[in-house]
């Protein structure tokens, strides 16, 4: 003879959906910590702010929809950046104008000296003003160099990623990161070298 017991309701138990929602919300919360970083990467990869907005928004949506693919305890910042990088190259960089690095070098050589462009009455401008000018020059110069050289700069110099992490995000060998970074910085120096101390 079988004895049957009524199923006990476990108030602590949560459904699979609830667990997934909770994981999603945790990821969403942690994602917001990296929002400035994501926007920065998008801002420097994209040609305009509108694309950067769209890219970041879509990255967040994709990341949350794919939250189950993220392994807790691993590098969330790198995971989000990889999604953004892939999205950018799949969707936003298709119509990019290709500029050869050699042509850029020529452009830079033809540029007049920065100090010559400053009004003469501002012979001793304040440091903050100079810093703002330099920021504007760097932003302008970054937009001029090809994205394959810009991406490692954005990831390593601005995003604080190691070569290994940058290589995983870009999906290329570490040596390629190093050579592109070196070439990218050389291009930047050609464009703004005069302003650097």
């Amino acid at each position: 003879m079988h004895t049957t017991y009524p199923l006990r309701y476990n108030a602590q138990a949560v459904s699979g959906n609830e667990v997934r929602n909770s994981e999603r919300e945790r990821l969403a919360s942690e994602m917001m910590v990296h929002l400035d970083h994501l926007y920065r990467v998008a801002f420097y990869l994209a040609k305009n702010e509108e694309d950067a907005h769209d890219c970041v928004q879509e990255t967040c949506a994709r990341a949350l929809n794919a939250h189950s693919q993220f392994t807790a305890g691993t590098n969330l910042k790198a995971w989000l950046t990889r999604i953004l990088h892939n999205l950018f190259f799949d969707s936003f960089a298709r119509n990019k104008r290709t500029v050869s690095a050699d042509a850029l070098g020529r452009d830079a050589a033809q540029k007049s000296d920065y100090w010559e462009t400053l009004p003469t009455e501002e012979a001793g401008p304040e440091k903050r003003l100079l810093q703002q000018e330099l920021c504007a020059k760097i932003n302008g110069a970054l937009k001029k160099i090809p994205v394959e050289f810009r991406a490692p700069i954005v990831l390593v110099d601005m995003g604080d990623f190691s070569y290994q992490e940058a290589a995983e995000i870009i999906a290329c060998p570490i040596g390629t990161v190093r050579s592109r970074l070196s070439r990218g910085r050389k291009l930047l120096q050609d464009l703004i070298g005069e302003y650097l101390a």
């Binding site: 420097y44 910085r185 120096q189």
Partner: protein, 267 residues
């Protein structure tokens, strides 16, 4: 080591990415080569400036708010689960998308240009008219009846947002329907011990907020409040479902915000 060979090593040295052997080799070259030492200093300076420059770029508040609303607020919704937007990028749909985008742009332009679209400014002007007695108010004793009558006036397409301001000793005493632009707006007048408050309810979205409004996000309520002021009047706008609610009063914006955050409830 030649100088051209040293360039990538200099880059890696700036980033602290050299192995011990590589470091010894590049340091040996640098000790002998003034040009490469200069290059190392320039690249170090460039890296520092790049970092400083990037720190000036932060997420625009509007984008942050949009992500918080669309993504963080979506956590408890189930309709998005397993939903794929991939079909939207099908090549055969591109002409249709282009056409739809052009239509949307024309509609947006028409919307921007339509007369009297500044809802917040008109709401403030209406508030002044109510305070100065320029509007004849038909007073209704029963708040429930008032709400029902206002909803009926717009054929029950929407109803005024129900606010319990009894803690501030304010009661809904009168209401009327007005038109701002081509939109019908329900106005509820709250009176009592404190300053009169007028509440405007209409079908709309957060894009109806004045451009100058300051955004305050209540993460607990998951509501965006848009705060604006003009002369001695303050207004706070928020969305509840399909309707927009604007509260106008001669109060500090923070006071109106506190009333809304503490007292708003769905009737």
């Amino acid at each position: 080591m030649r100088c051209d060979e040293a360039q990538e090593w200099i880059t890696a040295s700036v980033d602290g990415e050299l192995s011990a052997d590589e470091r010894v080799a590049i340091e040996s070259h640098l000790a002998e080569c003034q040009d490469c030492r200069t290059q190392l200093a320039r690249e170090t300076a460039l890296k520092r400036e790049l970092k400083l420059t990037s720190a000036t770029v932060t997420t625009p508040q509007a984008l942050r708010a949009k992500i918080e609303v669309n993504e963080l607020g979506a956590g408890t919704r189930t309709s998005r689960k397993n939903f794929s937007w991939a079909w939207l990028s099908l090549p055969r749909l591109r002409p249709a998308w282009a056409f739809a985008i052009v239509l949307l742009m024309i509609a947006a332009l028409a919307y921007q240009l339509r007369p009297g679209q500044d809802l917040a400014a008109t709401a403030m002007a209406t508030h002044e008219s109510v305070i100065k007695g320029k509007v004849t108010l038909a007073r209704v004793g029963d708040p429930g009846e008032l709400r029902k009558e206002l909803a009926l006036a717009v054929k029950n397409r929407f109803a005024p947002v129900a606010l319990d301001l009894s803690m501030a000793k304010l009661q809904p005493v009168a209401g009327f329907v007005t038109k701002i632009g081509d939109r019908e707006v329900l106005v509820t007048v709250y009176e009592g011990d404190g300053p009169t408050i007028t509440c405007y309810t209409f079908l709309g979205t957060e894009t109806d907020a004045p451009k100058s409004a300051e955004l305050f996000r209540d993460n607990e309520m998951r509501v965006n409040f848009f705060i604006f002021s003009q002369d001695n009047l303050s207004g706070v706008m928020h969305q509840e479902g399909e309707v927009i609610c604007i509260l106008i009063a001669k109060l500090a914006p923070a006071d109106i915000l506190n009333l809304l955050r503490g007292k708003t409830h769905h009737a």
